[in-house]
Symmetry: C2
Subunit: 361 residues, 2 copies
C-alpha cells in the first residue's frame, strides 16, 4: 500500500517505448546507442538487451562504472572528459570499450599522456545549443583537433557527437521537424567534409523525425519514460508516459480549491512548464487508478512545490471528490530529475526496481 | 583530493551560525526549536546539543524517525499529519514527544480514533503564505478545531504553528522587517484571543527581527548554513554562508566567456535567483581557496544547469585564470535542496558527514 510519495513505473509501456524506438532506428538502418541517464537502473538497462543496440550512452563516469558493473561492454560518457578522473578513466578503459567526448586539443594531449589504455573519442559538436562542444561552423577548431587526435597514441577518433538540447524549446511536432532538419543538414555537411560517423540524439528529434540525413547513430534517453514536458514539445502522447508520482493528500483548502500533498521539490525536482498565464507548474494530475493511472485531468496540476509540500490547483469536481488520505497521481514535468531524486521505482506489478541514486534510508 | 562535484561544509562557521541564533533567541527569552530539514544530518544535529534548545522541528515523518534514532526526544513534524502514516505515527508517539500539525476537525477526529499513544498538536495558521494552515483571520475554523481538539482523547493542543515562507520574496532587511512585523502583529492577536503558545519560524524573519511580539517559540532551519538567496533576501552576509559546491572545470568556450563544469541539476537543484536582466542563475562563484572559499566574484555565476552539466558565465579575468582540471567553488542558491541532492558533506577539515539522503553508491 502506498502511503508516501512513490514513483510508479509501468513496465509494459516502457518496453513498448523501447521497442518502438529500437524498431524505428533499425528500420532506418541506423545504430542505436541509447542514453541511460534517464532511468539510471541496471534492471531497466537489462530490458534493452533483447533489442539490437550498439552499446550505451551515459552522462557521468559514475554512471559508466555502474553500468559496467552490470556487464555493459561499450559505454559512451557523453560529457567532455574530466582529467581529474584519470585514475577511474584508466581503470574503466582497461575493462570496456570506453568512449568520451573531446572539445579541445590541449585537453586531448593531456589525456593521451596520462592514459594507460586506449580510449575512443568523439569530437563534441555544438549545434548552436550553446552548452558544450565546438560550434559546427568552426572548422578551424575541428581541423586542429582532428590533427591533434591523429598524433595521439591512446586516443582513437570515433566520430562526432552532437546533442541538440534546445529542441526542448519547440512546442509542436511541426516545430520540431523544422528545427531538427536544419541541424541535421549542418551535421550531414560535416560528415561529407570529414568522412566521420555522427552520433546524435535528443528524444524530441528522435521521436518525431523520419529522416536523419547522413547521421549514423542515435542516442536518445528520455523516450524510455517520456514525461509531461515531452507532450508539450510534441514528442509523445500523454499515454506514452510510463512513470508517475503517487502522493498522499493531507489537507484541503476550500477557499482556494487547492489540495496540500506530501510531494515537493525533493521528490519532483523544481523543473517546470509554463501555463498559458505564464505561471509555472510542476506536474500534471491524471486519473488515479488503483496502482496505475489514466488520462490527464484538465485544469488539475501541481501549482507549487517547496521542500516537502506540494499544492494541487484543481477543478471543483476534483476537489469535491478528493479527501485527506487519498492518493493522487501526477505526471512529472521532467522524468530524468524526478527519477534521480526518488532513487527507486515501484512497478505497476508491485516490484521494487533500484536506481543508481538509491538512498541508504 | 576533490575530483567530482562535492558539497563542502565549514564546521566552525556553522557552529557560529548556531551560536548566534541560539544566543539571540535566549536573550529574547524565547524557546528555540530549530528546524533540521536543511542539514538532515545526525552529526550536525549533535552540534546543537551544547545550546539550550527545546526539541527539534522536521518536515517529514521519515526525518522524525531518523532524528529519533539519533536520540532526539521531542520532535515536531511541521506538516499536517498524513493519516496513511498512522502505523508509523503510533510507533514513534510511543517512544518520543511527537508533535504534528492539524488543520481541520474531520482529520483530527480520524487521527484521535486511530492513535494508540498521546500526540501533541499545533494548529497550523496560514499567515497569508497560501501554502498550508487555517488563515489567521478565519476564527470560525479555529474555534471549531479548538473545540474538536478539546473533545479528543489522545490529542493535546500545544498551540499554534505558523510559517511565513513568503518572506522569501523580500529583497532587503528593511522589507523583511516591515513584512514580518505585520504577521507577528496578527499572530500576537491570536495569542491574546486564545491564550495559546505560538511557534513561528522562517530564517529571514528570525535572522533580521529584534522583536517577536507575543511569540513563544522560534523554529528557523536554513540559518544553519544560509545560502545565496538569503543574501539577496537580506537575511545574511555572503561570509555567513557555510556550505559551498566544489566542481571541476571540464571545458572552456572562449567565444562566449563560458566554462563547462561537472555540476548540474542533480547536484545544485534547479532553484534559481534572477539577475537584473530577469534571466535566472543557479549559483554564485566565489574565490576558490584550497579546501575552503573566499569572497563572491562579481559577474561570475552558474548561468544554466542541465542534468549533469553546468555553464559558468564569467569575466575575462576569471576566464583567463581558469583551465580544465581546475576546481571552482560555487555558493548554492538554496542550501536545503543542494544538501538533499548531494547526500553528504565534506568538512573543510576533511571529514565526511552523512545526510539522511545519503546514496548507496
Amino acid at each position: 500500500m502506498i502511503t508516501s510519495p512513490t514513483l510508479v513505473l509501468d513496465r509494459n509501456k516502457t518496453l513498448e517505448n523501447i521497442n518502438k524506438m529500437s524498431s524505428k532506428i533499425s528500420n532506418l538502418g541506423l545504430k542505436f546507442r541509447p542514453h541511460f541517464k534517464t532511468h539510471q537502473s541496471l534492471e531497466i538497462g537489462n530490458w534493452f538487451r533483447e533489442f539490437p543496440i550498439d552499446g550505451i550512452t551515459v552522462s557521468s563516469l559514475k554512471m559508466a562504472k555502474y553500468f559496467a558493473s552490470g556487464g555493459w561492454k561499450s559505454i559512451t560518457v557523453a560529457f567532455p572528459f574530466n582529467i581529474l578522473d584519470i585514475k577511474e578513466i584508466n581503470a574503466l578503459a582497461s575493462k570496456i570499450d570506453l568512449r568520451v567526448l573531446v572539445v579541445d586539443s590541449e585537453s586531448a594531449i593531456e589525456l593521451d599522456k596520462r592514459l594507460t589504455s586506449n580510449v575512443s573519442v568523439y569530437i563534441e559538436i555544438d549545434p548552436e545549443y550553446g552548452r558544450s562542444g565546438i560550434h559546427f561552423n568552426d572548422t578551424e577548431q575541428i581541423d586542429k583537433l582532428i590533427s591533434t587526435l591523429n598524433n595521439t597514441k591512446k586516443l582513437t577518433l570515433h566520430g562526432f557527437y552532437s546533442h541538440a538540447g534546445h529542441s526542448y524549446k519547440c512546442r509542436s511536432a511541426n516545430d520540431l521537424e523544422q528545427f531538427s532538419k536544419a541541424i541535421i543538414n549542418s551535421l550531414s555537411q560535416l560528415k561529407n567534409k570529414y568522412d566521420l560517423s555522427i552520433c546524435f540524439g535528443d528524444t524530441p528529434s528522435c521521436s518525431v523525425l523520419k529522416n536523419f540525413g547522413a547521421i549514423d547513430e542515435l542516442s536518445p534517453g528520455n523516450f524510455v519514460f517520456y514525461d509531461w514536458i515531452q507532450t508539450q514539445i510534441g514528442s509523445c502522447d500523454p499515454d506514452e508516459i510510463t512513470i508517475a508520482m503517487k502522493c498522499p493528500v493531507v489537507a484541503k483548502y476550500p477557499s482556494r480549491n487547492e489540495l496540500l500533498i506530501h510531494g515537493g521539490a525533493v521528490h519532483f525536482s523544481k523543473d517546470y512548464d509554463l501555463l498559458d498565464s505564464g505561471e509555472p507548474y510542476f506536474g500534471q494530475v491524471v486519473q488515479n487508478l488503483n496502482g496505475q493511472w489514466g488520462k490527464p485531468i484538465e485544469n488539475c496540476f501541481l501549482k507549487s512545490v517547496s521542500q516537502e509540500h506540494g499544492i494541487i490547483k484543481c477543478t471543483d469536481e476534483f476537489f469535491n471528490d478528493t479527501k485527506p488520505g487519498d492518493i493522487i497521481t501526477i505526471l512529472p514535468i521532467h522524468s530524468c530529475l524526478t527519477a534521480d531524486l526518488m532513487g527507486s521505482y515501484l512497478t505497476t506489478d508491485n516490484e521494487r526496481i533500484s536506481h543508481l541514486s538509491e538512498k541508504r534510508i
